[in-house]
Structure formats: structure tokens, C-alpha cells
């Protein structure tokens, strides 16, 4: 009895058009998130026990060093900035039913061009203008990079999973080539771009080490959320995502919208690269690839492409990565354990969402 709607492999089921959530709804959501995380911690704790590490001590450090110590929370918040931009870009793409899996390539190219341009520009113009221009350049480069998959999808119907994956392999190599051959800092033996002086980077918030990139990232994801849920443009994109044939039937310019989706999504990924470089790193080394996309993609799905929920999940990921690193060191667990922890958290959260959904269904019946 299944009705064959929405032929695109899009996450239609997730897009029941965000209605106004009631307070109880939010509370339940929160519970449905914290509960599973607790379960995941118990499971991961068993692994820790198996290798002879006290899980309570481990989690104590994760919480302390990732969340509750002033230093830890600052680090966590700083790490969020690029992740938020990436998440924002993925939300646009996924809501519109386009699998932009090329975020890492777009991110790196944005990072490299920002790193190449910012140190030059700050010398010839006011810092704020220079940084603005660097952001712009990073964005434009990422957008241009996404044009190939966008146009192929829009006008040739070539599946974008393949093209974006390949463009990300290409982009990673190209970023390296650029660092090594085009933008290399002549002053160092290590192949890397010139370094943007610390004082020219994005200002830090108040007296902390938190980058103001965090605010930009928050702004980006909230704007994206509002545009996707509250505006005509966002609705058009969601229609393209949920039922492309309905979009054609309704007179939407699907090819144009497709290109726009890719441009926005890639542009935000490029900005993610720029905000990481201009806000924190200062330069790009050859072979640098943090591959943030791999963790952000599932987070965006778990957030059901809701911007606010995505902020929460990105925060969680940051806490785990900052606190996990610290805890691993203190307890002499290899740092790789953090990967296992993140994996278990993702799986248990996905399971919890499923059981929550089931429960609701049976309650209504």
C-alpha cells in the first residue's frame, strides 16, 4: 500500500514542516536526547571497563574539561564555530533533498583561499574590511566549486552523491596543491600558507578565548533555519526536496533552485573553512583536513534538519571531542576512544528517535 511519492531519496519523512513546538514538546525532545546520551555513556563505559579504565573518572573529565571548567567551555564553544556553518549548509541542502556530501572539499577550498587572501589583504586595507573580503572570497570559491555538481544535477540529472563525493576528493587534492605550489609561505620550510597575525584574526569574545566566529556561526544557522521554515524561498526549497515533481507542477524553476541550493550550501561550507582559519587557525598547512563533515552530517539528520536542534548536537559533538581528548590523556586511553564514543552516541540517539516515534504512533492509535 505504499504510495510512491517523492522519488528522490530525500528525507521526506523528516520534513513534516516544523510546526510551532509547544513547551512540552521541547521538554520531551530534551529528555529524548539526554536519556539516550546517558545510555550511550553506559555502553561506552563498559568498553572502558573492559580495557581497565574507570568510566566514571573518564566521564568526569569529559564533563569537567569539555563543559564545566571555564577553559573547557571556551574551547568547546570555539570549536563549534566552523561546525555550525557546516551544519547550516547541510540543512539547506538536505531540506531541499540534495545530498551535498562534498562539504569537506568546499570547506578546505574556502579555508585555503581565506588563508591565502587574508594575510595579504590586511596589509592593504582595514582589518575588518580585509576579513570581510576574505570571507567573501572563500565563499565565492566554494560556490564556484559546487557549480559542477549543481549544474550536472540541475540540467543533466546526474546524481549529486557521486559528483559531490568526487569533487570532495578532488577538492582535497587541489587544496594541497594550492598550499604547496601557489600560496606557500616562502618564510617557512613547512609547506603552509602565510599566517594571519593573531591580532588581525576575528576578535575574541570579551575576555575569553572564544572566537566571535561562534556568533557568526550561530547567526548563520539561525538565519538558515528561519529562511527554511518561514519564508517563501525556504518553502520552495523544501518542496523541491520533498517532491520535485510537485515543484515542477507548481511552476517552480527547479534547475535554478537546485543551483541556488548548492550555492548556498557550498558557500556556507566555504565560510566554515574561512571562519576556522580567520578565527582560529591563522594558516593552512599542506595535508590539513579535519574532515568535520563526517560528524556533522549525522548530527544534522538527528536534528531533523532543525537549526536549533542542530546547534545542540554540534555543541554535544564539541564537548565530546574537547573533553574526550583531555580525558583520554589523563587516563591513558588512546585518543581514538573518542571516535567510539561519538559513534555509540549517534547510534543510540538514532535508536531513541525511532522508539520515540513508535511510541507516539501507538499512543495515537
Amino acid at each position: 500500500m505504499s504510495i510512491d511519492t517523492a522519488p528522490s531519496a530525500s528525507a521526506t519523512a523528516l520534513d513534516a514542516t516544523s510546526g510551532a513546538a509547544t513547551r512540552r514538546d521541547i521538554l520531551r525532545r530534551l529528555l529524548m536526547t539526554l536519556g539516550p546520551i546517558l545510555v550511550a555513556l553506559v555502553i561506552a563505559g563498559c568498553i572502558l571497563l573492559a580495557v581497565g579504565v574507570d568510566p566514571l573518572a573518564y566521564y568526569g573529565y569529559v564533563l569537567e574539561k569539555g563543559l564545566f571548567s571555564p577553559l573547557g567551555i571556551q574551547q568547546t564553544l570555539t570549536r563549534m564555530a566552523p561546525l555550525l556553518f557546516l551544519a547550516a549548509g547541510l540543512i539547506v541542502a538536505f531540506r531541499a533533498g540534495m545530498w551535498n556530501l562534498g562539504g569537506d572539499g568546499q570547506f578546505l577550498l574556502g579555508a585555503v583561499t581565506a588563508a591565502a587572501s587574508a594575510p595579504v589583504l590586511v596589509e592593504i586595507m582595514p582589518a575588518w574590511l580585509a576579513l570581510f573580503c576574505s570571507f567573501l572570497i572563500a565563499m565565492v570559491v566554494a560556490v564556484v566549486w559546487s557549480l559542477v555538481p549543481a549544474l550536472l544535477r540541475a540540467y543533466q540529472g546526474v546524481n549529486e552523491i557521486i559528483t559531490t563525493l568526487m569533487m570532495t576528493f578532488l577538492g582535497t587534492s587541489l587544496a594541497n596543491v594550492l598550499v604547496k605550489l601557489a600560496f606557500r609561505d616562502p618564510g617557512t620550510t613547512v609547506p603552509q600558507t602565510r599566517t594571519l597575525p593573531v591580532e588581525d584574526r576575528l576578535p575574541r569574545l570579551f575576555e575569553t578565548t572564544i572566537t566571535s566566529g561562534l556568533l557568526l556561526g550561530l547567526a548563520a544557522i539561525i538565519i538558515v533555519h528561519l529562511v527554511m521554515t518561514r519564508t517563501a524561498f525556504g518553502l520552495k526549497l523544501r518542496i523541491v526536496g520533498a517532491n520535485p515533481r510537485a515543484a515542477v507542477h507548481s511552476g517552480l524553476g527547479v534547475p535554478g533552485l537546485t543551483v541556488a541550493v548548492f550555492a548556498i550550501s557550498a558557500g556556507l561550507a566555504g565560510l566554515a573553512g574561512a571562519v576556522d582559519i580567520i578565527g582560529v587557525q591563522g594558516n593552512v598547512r599542506a595535508d590539513w583536513n579535519p574532515a568535520y563533515g563526517l560528524a556533522v552530517i549525522p548530527a544534522v539528520f538527528l536534528a531533523r534538519m532543525n537549526g536549533f536542534a542542530a546547534i545542540g548536537f554540534v555543541f554535544l559533538l564539541s564537548v565530546l571531542s574537547i573533553g574526550g581528548e583531555s580525558a583520554a590523556r589523563r587516563l591513558d586511553v588512546p585518543n581514538h576512544f573518542t571516535l567510539v564514543l561519538v559513534s555509540i552516541v549517534l547510534i543510540v540517539l538514532a535508536l531513541a528517535e525511532y522508539f520515540d516515534h513508535r511510541f507516539n504512533q501507538s499512543r495515537k492509535a
Binding site: K65, L71, G72, Q75, T78, R79, S173, N176, K180, G187, T188, T189, V190, P191, Q192, T195, V198, T209, V280, Q281, G282, N283, R285, D287, W288, N289, P290, I322, E325, S326, A328, R329, P334, N335, H336
Partner: protein, 315 residues
Amino acid sequence: KSIAILTPEEGTDYGWNQQGIDAAKAAGKAAGVEVVVAQGLGYGDVRPTLRELASDGASLLIAHASGYNTSAPEIAKELKVPVAIVDTPNGLEKGLVADYTLSGHQGAYLAGRLAAKMSRSKSVGIVVSGEPPSWNSQSAAFAQGVKAENPDVKITYAVIGPAAYSDAAGGKRVTESVIASGADIIFGQGNGSSFGMLQAVETTKAADGGKVYFIDVIGDKSPIDKGFLLSSVVWNIEPVYAAMIADLKADTFGTKHYTIGLKDDSVKLLKTAAIPDNVWAEIQTLREDVISGKIKVDPVYDAAAVRALMTSVAQ
């Protein structure tokens, strides 16, 4: 008080990370300071770890990876904690930033001489998994050593691929190709992938049907050797760290470059049973010449220059 060392990978690689960690521990023990080890941090952003180690009271942060040489000085200035970084000779800052540009080029030169002496096929190979400066200088010096010993020995230089540090299969594949091109001694550099090179050497016969030998760098892999390890350019970083601690105490931190070399045995060639005693004796003589300056070995850090050198020496 305490010092901390940060490494990108686990300190169990019989190489760069392990040598750094072991040396820091030894130097700390000698000086009576506690050593905090933060390993397996990857090549991403280590600012959080640097800040945390500093806030935990470390009075010296050793950022033991060229990838950390932007972030560590920044944290040093931000928190007024001394850091030591690698591969950045012009980054010194008194009391804050010290550089130790480690280069085993002197040792690699000797390794080249050794290889040229011992190669039956008069053909040797250099396999690297990437081209960071410290490896480049060794590749170049090795080639110079080979040519100085015997200009007729052919050198084959091959890079596995981008970001191939963990590409053990690539290491094996490329090494096998290089052996097929005639080499019977492989000078190999590459973290995880160097185990693939070692495996290739162990499982592939040279053109004459005999053994292929492997010359390693930085660490000492003899505990896991199966009889194919000819030598290694072993680095001992302990004197560097010891000097840093001393300078820290003497308030002269950040005023000098720390290096390693043949002179104090902080770079030395590993003697294995595979090296005949007469050859070893010749190498020891050459070692004296390098120390005394009779033989000059200049480090070449730039990848393009290394490649240029290879082509020019190959013809």
C-alpha cells in the same frame, strides 16, 4: 615543575612520536621534573590541549610536530608559557619560543655511504610517505652520500602519495615497485606506512634473488626486525630537551637553536649484524670527517629541491 610533550600520533611507532616521548621522559627524569604526555592528538587544532596543559601548570610545552608550529607560539604569547616547536628556526622568542629543527641529514649521509657500499645491484631506493622538511633533508643527504661513495649507483626516489602516513598498503606497493626497478637497499621514511615498506622488504627478493635491506630513520626498529634491517638513522632528542630544561632554569630559553648531529651521538647510525665490521669501520671514519667538517653536508629542506637533486643525481 612539569613539562608536557604533544605528539600527533601514539608514542608506539618506533619513530618520530616515540623518540620524542621517550626523550622527553628521559630528560624530565634526569632533571627531576614531571613529564605529561599528550599523544595521538592528530594534525588538527591543538590549541585546546595546549591551553589545558598550560593551565594544568606545565612550565614547558613541547609541540612535537611541524603542524603545531603556528598554534604553539600563539599560545605561548597568550599564556606566557614557554613552548618548543620544530622546523621554525626564525621563530625564536626569548623566554617564550624555542625551536629545535631536527635533521638527521648527517646521519642520512652516512646511511647513503653505507648503502652504496653494500648494494650488490648498485641501485638503491628512497621511499617516503610524504615530504615534510625533516624527511627531505634526510632524503637529500642520503642521495648525496650514495653519490659520494659511488656516482654510478642508481637512486630511485618515490613518494607514496598525499597524506599517506597511514597507507601501509601504499608503502608496500611503492616499495615493491622500487625493488623491481633494481634497488636492493631501501631508505624508507613514513610513519605507519613504513611498516608496509618493511613488509615489502621482507617479502620481496632483489633482482639477484638475494635479500633486500631496509634503512630506517629516527627510531630503532630492531626489536621488531626479522633480519632485514640494515641500519637506521637514529635520533636521540634527549640532549635537546635536557638543554631546553637547563635553559629554562638559566633563563636563556628561546635564545638558541637546538639541533642534533653526529657529534654528540644525538644522531647516529644503528649498527646491526647485517653490516660487516670492515664496512662499519669505514663508516666510522667517515663519521669523524663529517664531524670535523672535512665532509660538508648541507640540509636541503624544500621538496622541489629534493626532487631536483634526485633527478640530477639519477642521470
